[in-house]
Symmetry: C2
């Protein structure tokens, strides 16, 4: 990851009223930007396509574009000959696809992750149409209503560079081979449920983890804020301030039962660490 | 409105299982595309900015951009000198801003409305900074945390053309003067609640409206699907098929009590029409 932005890692608290910020404690492996980007791309099914307008020629033009990723991590589009973006791509293949999660009410949209895939969009060659159609429909099943219409065709974005912005002050140009070979996090669809369960039913264990494994013996609360295949993030609060604590699982988790076993192991280790 | 797309006005029903489609019945005034576009732009606070990359030069590059509209319907951005889009705009001001509502789970994203404002982005001149800052913060209050940082500055998109896509098969280039002078629908923030109330508590009255005012005497159900300052949309179902019925209010509504009075008046008229 390259950090090339001087935005602070979190908005400044209200002077005099908010908590102070404690230094983050990071133990173990974290997902790479390539993995975070692939995970988000696998989860999202609509992006914004930027193309070059024909009139005035060369003006960047944004449009909505449902997509599915193929096996080589290329977005496959199903677009109409009659739409602006298709006419634009016929004249100039240069384009990019911006993918971002929907904003959450009350949360700064710039705190969220987003991804720009930059490259050239080309019609899918005849011999690869079936695989491309399957890739598109896996992301965008609604296209089954129109994918076989005469004016629709399948296009593929040949990705040449990948820009990932993970939130405040975290951004990088992702290595192209790393993007292609990264695997989406298999537990991403389970993370929200697991986080809710840990915070609702195991707050004491999470606090012990922050105190005894996460270098925050002062903590009086520790809320799980993220969970991925490699570990969990906690927001620990105590006299030293509010700060991130990152704790690793023993090995990468793949399934729901794996998450359960890995978090139970963390809790046992925290209890034994006193 | 210009329709220049051969996508059908709704996805084809499952052969043999879905309802047949009845011809729409439209009475009275409907919002113009300029009004629909301004209403959506007033409601949304984050768009996707398309700019021209510096390397490779001229490639369209999409990025997330919170915005607020100023009094002349220009998006005001607050962007960092260190971000890609800002560096891109410094080299070439041509850009566009795509605005779309967040997709709804299970609904085809192409059924939703979206808007592309195309033009040139320029730094806001010194004398107009305060007004621009207020416009941006009205849309994006989170920027209060960073709007005064040294590396952030206010930019304004001078809109040169407006593309509105209202959903399946409804799209137009909106006249620029119409865009600038259109007023956002004052009852848009109230519409969802009013629709829910009408369907939950006044289904009989809505059915009478479709039967007696909307040219659908065969209707056995009529669900309100949209409400704006000028009237309501119903989806009427009966032996003749499922079709849209549009009914006008006597005059444009502005407030919640106006909506109540206007829908009560429609119900009275339907009862009296027998």
């Amino acid at each position: 990851m390259r950090t090339d932005h001087d935005v602070p890692s979190a908005p400044a608290p209200d002077p005099g009223s908010g908590p102070t910020y404690a230094a983050p404690v990071v133990r173990g492996r974290e997902p790479t930007d390539a993995e975070l980007a692939r995970t988000m791309a696998a989860e999202m099914t609509t992006g914004v396509l930027s193309t070059l307008a024909r009139d005035p020629v060369g003006t960047p033009f944004g449009s909505l574009a449902p997509f599915g990723l193929d096996g080589d991590a290329r977005p496959v589009l199903c677009i109409s000959e009659l739409a602006e973006h298709t006419r634009n791509l016929q004249a100039d293949p240069r384009s990019s696809l911006l993918v971002a999660r929907a904003p959450v009410a009350g949360v700064d949209p710039l705190a969220g992750a987003r991804l720009t895939l930059v490259g050239q969009a080309m019609p899918v060659p005849d011999g690869e149409l079936e695989a491309a159609k399957a890739a598109h429909l896996a992301g965008n099943p609604h296209a089954s209503y129109y994918v076989d219409y005469g004016d629709f065709s399948l296009w593929r974005l040949e990705v040449e560079s990948v820009r990932y912005v993970g939130g405040y002050g975290r951004m990088s140009w992702v290595d192209l081979d790393a993007w292609r070979s990264a695997e989406p996090d298999p537990v991403a669809p389970l993370a929200d449920g697991a986080i809710e369960h840990l915070n609702a039913d195991h707050a004491d264990a999470c606090l012990l983890m922050a105190q005894r494994l996460g270098g925050r013996p002062d903590a009086v609360s520790a809320e799980v804020t993220a969970l991925d295949r490699y570990g969990i993030d906690l927001l620990a609060k105590g006299p030293e301030g509010a700060g991130r604590v990152r704790l690793p699982f023993d090995e990468a988790v793949v399934t729901g039962p794996d998450i359960r076993a890995a978090t139970v192991a963390l809790a046992h280790r925290a209890r034994a660490a006193d």
